[in-house]
Symmetry: C2
Subunit: 353 residues, 2 copies
């Protein structure tokens, strides 16, 4: 006889898994729609219909019986069967950049909750160079093997990647052209430095050579601001989060551009590295070197001098993705206006500007 579940028993019962086999096998076969149907005295089709909300077409009494039976058996639909018949899974892939974005965890958690509420399962995928430049391949493989309902790009995907995915028949969110938040952030930083009296402005990239999906856009925005304000084009520097290297980078900048100088940083970590590098070089902050970060990390606010930084609030950012998600999958009526991704970004004044 052919028993396809034998493998499952092997896995969870024996020394392969190392699980203790305490008396009876703890993993009895999960209830299926057949079981529910039998218990409720109806057909599998009826079960399926009722449990998928097609309640109108059945007698209240039948509906009740089916639901009762399902609850009694602890029945839960098999994703596998569902996916098989529907041609795609109930997954949403979150493509996260490898880059150092400290608060990315919070964004992921918030989005995950949202997505799961919509009935999907979240698969987080870190897209980064680190694992040997085969990141796009890994993603592509995952897409093919998973056939997800959609991919949410949090910055880990290039335009090419996204296009390839769409070509493979995969829904990719968000589809913004409308307001790259990085442009907004860069402009905010430069504007602030200028408002605080700096005429010499620089942009500090993160130092390690991971892919940095946000930096270029922000640097570009800073440059644009400088041009508009009639300032010299911003110097660029790369700042590793390491004392000696950061000091060297700052030293080079100051010798090149003099002081005072204002530096728009990729994130709070870069900003901190520069603040303490300045200290090491005997430069005043913010007198000689003004510094502004991004993210408003907790450490940035607890050290002295307290960091000036720009950050968006989570609800606004998540709201943007939520809107796209709801539009694509849920009730499109949830919100009439697409929230801008730039909403809620603002300066938090600290002691470094």
């Amino acid at each position: 006889m052919y028993r396809p579940h034998a493998a499952v028993r092997d896995l969870s019962g024996d020394d392969v898994s190392g699980q203790p086999e305490n008396g009876k096998p703890p993993s009895r076969r999960p209830a299926t729609s057949v079981d529910v149907a039998r218990l409720a005295g109806v057909s599998r089709a009826t079960v399926s219909h009722v449990l998928n909300g097609q309640v109108e077409r059945f007698s209240a009494e039948t509906v009740e019986r089916v639901r009762g039976a399902a609850a009694a058996l602890g029945y839960v639909r098999s994703t596998a069967g569902r996916a098989l018949v529907r041609g795609r899974g109930d997954f949403i892939v979150l493509a996260v950049p490898h880059a150092t974005v400290t608060r990315v965890q919070e964004v992921i958690e918030a989005l995950s909750a949202d997505i799961e509420e919509l009935g999907f399962t979240v698969v987080v995928h870190f897209a980064g160079v680190r694992a040997g430049r085969k990141a796009p391949d890994r993603l592509h493989h995952m897409i093919e093997t998973l056939r997800p309902a959609g991919v949410v790009n949090l910055g880990g995907l290039s335009e090419d990647d996204m296009e390839a995915l769409r070509a493979a028949g995969c829904l990719v969110l968000p589809r913004y052209r409308s307001g790259d938040p990085n442009l907004f952030i860069g402009r905010l930083q430069a504007g602030h430095l200028h408002a605080r009296g700096r005429t010499e402005i620089a942009y500090a990239f993160t130092g390690d050579r991971r892919d940095d999906p946000y930096g270029p856009g922000r640097a570009e925005a800073v440059a644009a601001f400088c041009a508009e304000a009639g300032l010299a084009p911003p110097a660029h520097l790369h700042v590793p989060i390491e004392a000696a290297a950061a000091r060297k980078a700052l030293e080079r900048l100051v010798s090149l551009r003099g002081r005072p100088v204002g530096i728009a940083c990729y994130n709070d970590e870069v900003a901190l590295a520069l603040v303490f590098a300045a200290k090491g070089l005997g430069l005043e902050v913010p007198g000689d070197v003004a510094v502004i970060g991004v993210e408003r990390t907790e450490v940035g606010q607890v050290v002295s001098p307290r960091l000036t930084t720009v950050a968006g609030d989570l609800p606004a950012i998540v709201g943007f993705f939520r809107y796209d998600l709801a539009r694509a999958y849920g009730g499109a009526a949830s919100r009439p206006e697409p929230p801008g991704l730039t909403d809620g970004y603002r300066i938090y004044q600290g002691e470094t500007t």
Copy 2:
């Protein structure tokens, strides 16, 4: 006629998704094993066998034809079909604690790479209190709906959670009793403070009230060390990553226990908060207040004073999980000895002790 794939077309083709329908539908039905079989001139069974590595049983020529056909068609197995027949999916769930573990991202990435190499797909699940105390339910639901091959507990699961999962027939890794790394870390911290001459020792928990899966074990280890060394039981304090609150907590500790005092901290962030709190209170570091963190975050090493901290190296930590994974799924022969989870943890001497 019954066309189950209609829904897929709807999704990826029309305004529901917002994708441009450029000319011909970009998503033609993916190749199935039937297609491969037809092109190779063999049966589906043969295709399945060959592609699952049962190469020995077939003529080299057949194998080649099958592989060629699969490659030519860009065939990739459907997870859905596979999962359906096997009773469980190709997923490994990574249960991550919500708690602030800055380097958790790196661990996730490294583990993901490992796991994917074993042929599984990684699903990251953040288990935390934040989302309204329904975290266990969320996880349980995910387990039921996904029927994953296993769950890797990175600290987000309580013993009860794990037991519940096992009862549901799910493989849960790692099954360590053998050396909770937190005990090792706590002891390392206390031992270092003592070696630096402190006789008054305290343990600083993180301040926010998220679930903190690591703190208790470490505090316990610190207490154990103090008892063995004949020191007073360690004071406990909770340190929010916020200047005023951190200062208040430290002030209270010093008024209670006097100085000098040595503080073993939950992580580098807590340590930094205390270092700058001390500064604000006019206390010397490390003279009056010695501080040691955990994690060796980059910021902790770039600020002044540079943090003394304890950290394990990633390869060792990941290696531990990798061993368990390989034992459960891959070739168990990959490594004879289970690496201890305490391997590779050590003190990094900074300027705060």
